[in-house]
Subunit: 383 residues, 2 copies
Amino acid sequence: MLAIRGIAMSIDRRGFIAASALLSSRVLAEETAAQKPMTQSHGSSPRRPLRRIATEEAFATPEQMAGMIGLSRSGWENLDMGLWRAWGRLQPGQANRLHDQLLDLEEVRIKEMDDNGVHMQVLSLTSPGVQQFDAPTAVSIAQDANDKLAAVIARHPNRFCGLAAFAPQDPKRTPQEMDRAINQLKLNGFILNSHTNGEYLDDRKFWPMLEAAEALERPIYIHPRCPSDDMAKPFRDYGMAAGICGFHTETALHATRMILGGVFDQFPKLQIVLGHMGEGLPYWLYRIDHVWRSTGSPDRLKTGPMDTFHRNFVVTTSGVNDPKVLKFVIDQLGADNVMWAIDYPYEVTKPAVDFMNTAPISEEERHKLFYLNAERVFHIPAV
Amino acid sequence: MLAIRGIAMSIDRRGFIAASALLSSRVLAEETAAQKPMTQSHGSSPRRPLRRIATEEAFATPEQMAGMIGLSRSGWENLDMGLWRAWGRLQPGQANRLHDQLLDLEEVRIKEMDDNGVHMQVLSLTSPGVQQFDAPTAVSIAQDANDKLAAVIARHPNRFCGLAAFAPQDPKRTPQEMDRAINQLKLNGFILNSHTNGEYLDDRKFWPMLEAAEALERPIYIHPRCPSDDMAKPFRDYGMAAGICGFHTETALHATRMILGGVFDQFPKLQIVLGHMGEGLPYWLYRIDHVWRSTGSPDRLKTGPMDTFHRNFVVTTSGVNDPKVLKFVIDQLGADNVMWAIDYPYEVTKPAVDFMNTAPISEEERHKLFYLNAERVFHIPAV
């Protein structure tokens, strides 16, 4: 009781709106009380209670689910089809953890957050988003998903914020939806799932969307999807198409194409977020920059690959609960450019929370990774 | 003179054979004298003078060069063809740095080594080796290259050792050449340049060669080549086919296929060397292991991906002179599993030497990376 009163007071002092939601959470309540000494002692960081904002958290809409299951029955042997094909075989009412948790927003999900001390999820339509649909379907399912996302955020403004889906298949109409997502729906950025039919954002036909994101001052999270049909063959075996190999291969390739293709000379303020500890690129920055300078045409870019990465990219920890990689990434990019993520429901919440709770970093860094950077990058109001 | 006398004495005490070669090198001489205090103080490591053994150093034979140039004129748009196509356009006698330095073994190369304090190069036939030829041509050019390699090592036994080329296109005859390379030619291991016509060493038809390498107790260095025609398309732009992206994408994919395909359950003592700081795999070990355990069929492998990597892989620093990556790799794999490399002549010798001379690691670690690990992995006699 004392602990719960403790939070209620602290909430009042900070104008925290979702007091009732917080009070329903035993873990959040106990932690908020317990961490007070820590927040008093972490030196130069703001004297705020620790807040856990998970930044790569997936959901599906029924329309996306139905559309993808339909596609998965078309015989298209795209690497992304596996899970949807399996979900298409579920009997009506048959439980399936991933399928059900993707479609759930307010039941199991919020309880999981409460039980593990997660204050907020940054929601995004699960991979591959709308990128496998024909253009009209993609536009329609993205708009609907953004509406649904805005609605659930309105009901739980301190538990959710969200990234807007958009349809790269229609790059001329899409900037309008991007504007609506930010200025009307008040979403916090954009999500793209790597290639669209084997094409990447270095292709100038997509640049109106990059121009929109830069003008709206909101980041694009480039989330993985499996390698395109143009390079699928060696990834078909041993379950390598997704998290084991294909996801980071594909997404690092995409980001590299954007950097070398001059995207950030054209849009120097565009912010890109990469999950999975930067999809390996922090490891390769020296080599990419060095080989580009040694063998390429450095004068084709105003800003080289390494400087571009430091200026235009922020990474998250999704799916990589490895303290050694975390230390390296902070060392390489700085603690201002790393955000915490779970990758719910594909990853389990508790290990991701435990990982960041106990990571061998300073308390100031922990506050940055858990919420301060996310508040800055996604324009999330402080509480 | 004092310095030179200093080394001569130290050489005598240790039975160092190539005294005259060493004495011809001003840099080597001065350094050996200068480093004495360091070698006295690096704790538990052997009290030996620092020796620099560079472990991924390329050469070409005239026969390989002619064969590859011939292939490059065939119209085959394979990603590896670029350099060979350019070399095919050279006029007779026209100088080209890379072309000339690959074909040179005893002139510019040894002078470069002397000038930069490199005691030994572990030589290997440059990528893609013989792997693009038809089987009889590949067998013949590999045998010839191994003979030439043994001959140059015989002339400079303390400046060179070497890895044998072999022809995966003929997996039944190749074990015989592998045996000859070790037991007759006294070479130190094997070099393979990733895929062969889009096929990887997880394919059981190649396993007689893995069995031979394990039985001969010599490592296979899996060097990069560009992605195969099966996945080439997205790598064709912006010079991404090689060091910027294609090389490590391809080689990490290959190693991952080997691990997940059960190669190391079958050959638990097989040693694989990966260049370029392990082609990124040290960064991904947690995630590969975790996703494999979460979504795959862990019981299909006796030893999981992370344990396999720690048991069966050693990495080199070739082309990645980044002290932060080096620190991370040592932290992840241990200093016994990292070897120094230059990647001569594709990379410049001096920055690679300076990098390892000044890397923020202990002197014990520096001795391991510069020569102790290479002596162990490649069976190079101590001097």
